[in-house]
Symmetry: C2
Subunit: 324 residues, 2 copies
């Protein structure tokens, strides 16, 4: 089994070798820039890990892995426009560094480049890989639409929220695993179980992200906490707090999230106090555990020797336990 | 041979049968809206005509034809944001009717749906069709980038402009023909010659568009003429006029295109006068003829009976002679 470190190194190397010195430079420079910003490379890593798990040649899964990473970065380019997010991985986002038009068009080009990589999967596997990828791409767009809709929606339920993060985040992680598994020679049932593993890990991952945005050590997290609170984002923590709060606590929450807060630090501090009072940290942690356990139950069903699952288990544990 | 009318009817019918009653509605409604706005349906028509020309079953080319039309409409959604064009086919463009975010995301989804259709090509042809489509998609993005760059560029040559319209407009028409031909069973050389036919027809088509924007009967054209003049767009007419103008005429052009014109009608009228003085109408008409003839020379090389080329020739003549 290849280690996480070896696989990540392979991905980094392959990403660096992609050649974007094409014309017009105005189109390709933002693409190089985006892909050079780093990030966890979760999707390609999962893809290659899954391939390796079934004894496949990871070389065969490299084009798909690159396609998945390019696609993910395309979504970031467009999401940053929609969310008006000026910073991405500590650097200016593309729409901010260049402009909105550049971010739209470079993003579009990345989507086409991603499809090109996906179809570069060798052998006779590319049509099946394409189907999984294309379905996933559409679902990611649907998830982003729900995310935007929820900004103004009045009645977002926790189930709505979980379905949104499933589409926006989890299906691409799940699809990456499934595609890697297929290329590695997995049978239909194994590939499907690995997909379900990824889907549940993905939801846990996003819930952990929500939690870290509020309850993390800013030094380790690498950015200010409380961003979701300031923007009144309807995260799991927000929705659960409103569900649990009663009487005066509910009133406080309503005031904090609906009033015009001039003092950002004060707002964050007071919301965190309410969350702590309601034990939201614990409740969210329990839900993360639930999704994590469910993920593991799907991984258990996969018909390969336990020793071949170890890298993936370690990786999933790392995501669950992460502090940034 | 199927007539143009039969083929267009088939396309319209298939487009109407596409089902976008999916959730979230906010994502799919703008897609239905865009595809229902009409338009010439040039790309799918060319695709089916090419398939039919080689004796193929047009049913086999329908998914690709739909993919090409959906892709074209995706580019319009994003182009309208970038060009700040509030009107499309006499109706509000998507970013205007909804907002920019909706236009970005519905556009992205259309791109994925287009790829899905392309890969729905039956038999073992879809990988080759995909390659042509994907290359074309990237080139269309490159063309749009050049188009945007030219807005602020100081030295745009006529060759630069022709290369830009080749990428932005011609390659998709050419690709539509090539894809249809491939599905219809054409050999490599025939498919390539049909591509070159389309490329040249496409450039002629765009030059004709530029000409109609200035010298058309507003009643027949269906919109105000002179839009390109008002926005100082560096079209072939503009670039050729600057190339031919000398002395006082050149000075007049400089003033007209660089000054702050408060009177739109006055600016258009005076630019048209200069264009007429320089005989730009005729010069542009000659260039259109040149591309048209070149297109025909490629069509002649295609190894099918002349009678099978008639529908395509009639169609190309229609595009060349059109007054709107």
């Amino acid at each position: 089994m290849l280690s996480y470190k070896t696989i990540l190194g392979k991905i980094q190397h392959e990403l660096e070798n992609l050649d974007f010195t094409r014309k017009p430079e105005e189109l390709y420079e933002p693409i190089s820039y985006t892909l050079s910003l780093g990030g966890k490379r979760l999707r390609p890593v999962l893809c290659l890990m899954a391939c390796d798990m079934f004894g496949g040649e990871i070389e065969d899964a490299v084009p798909a892995a690159l396609g998945l990473e390019i696609f993910h970065n395309f979504t970031l380019l467009h999401d940053d426009i929609m969310d008006e997010a000026p910073i991405r991985r500590g650097k200016q986002s593309v729409y901010k560094k260049w402009n909105t038009n550049v971010a739209i068009l470079s993003g579009d080009t990345m989507m086409a480049l991603a499809y090109g990589q996906i179809m570069g999967t060798p052998g006779n596997m590319h049509s099946r890989v394409f189907q999984v990828f294309n379905q996933t791409a559409i679902e990611v767009c649907e998830g982003q639409q729900y995310d935007m809709d929820f900004e103004t929606a009045q009645n977002v339920s926790i189930d709505d929220y979980l379905e949104m993060i499933r589409l926006k985040t989890a299906v691409l992680l799940a699809g990456s695993l499934k595609i890697g598994a297929m290329i590695g020679g997995a049978g239909t049932e194994d590939a499907e179980n690995l997909y379900r593993f990824g889907e549940n890990i993905g939801i846990a991952f996003q819930l952990k992200d929500d939690l870290l945005d509020v309850f993390s050590d800013e030094q380790k997290f690498g950015k200010k906490t409380g961003g979701d609170i300031l923007t009144n984002k309807k995260t799991y923590l927000y929705l659960k707090a409103f569900e649990l709060a009663k009487g005066e606590t509910l009133e406080t929450l309503n005031i904090l999230f609906n009033g015009n807060q001039n003092n950002d630090t004060g707002k964050i501090k007071r919301v965190v106090e309410v969350y702590e009072q309601l034990n939201i940290n614990q409740v969210a942690g329990d839900l993360i555990d639930k999704y994590y356990q469910r993920a593991m139950s799907f991984l258990e069903k996969v018909n390969v020797d336990d020793s071949r699952k170890m890298e993936l288990i370690k990786f999933a544990e790392g995501l669950k336990g992460r502090e940034y």
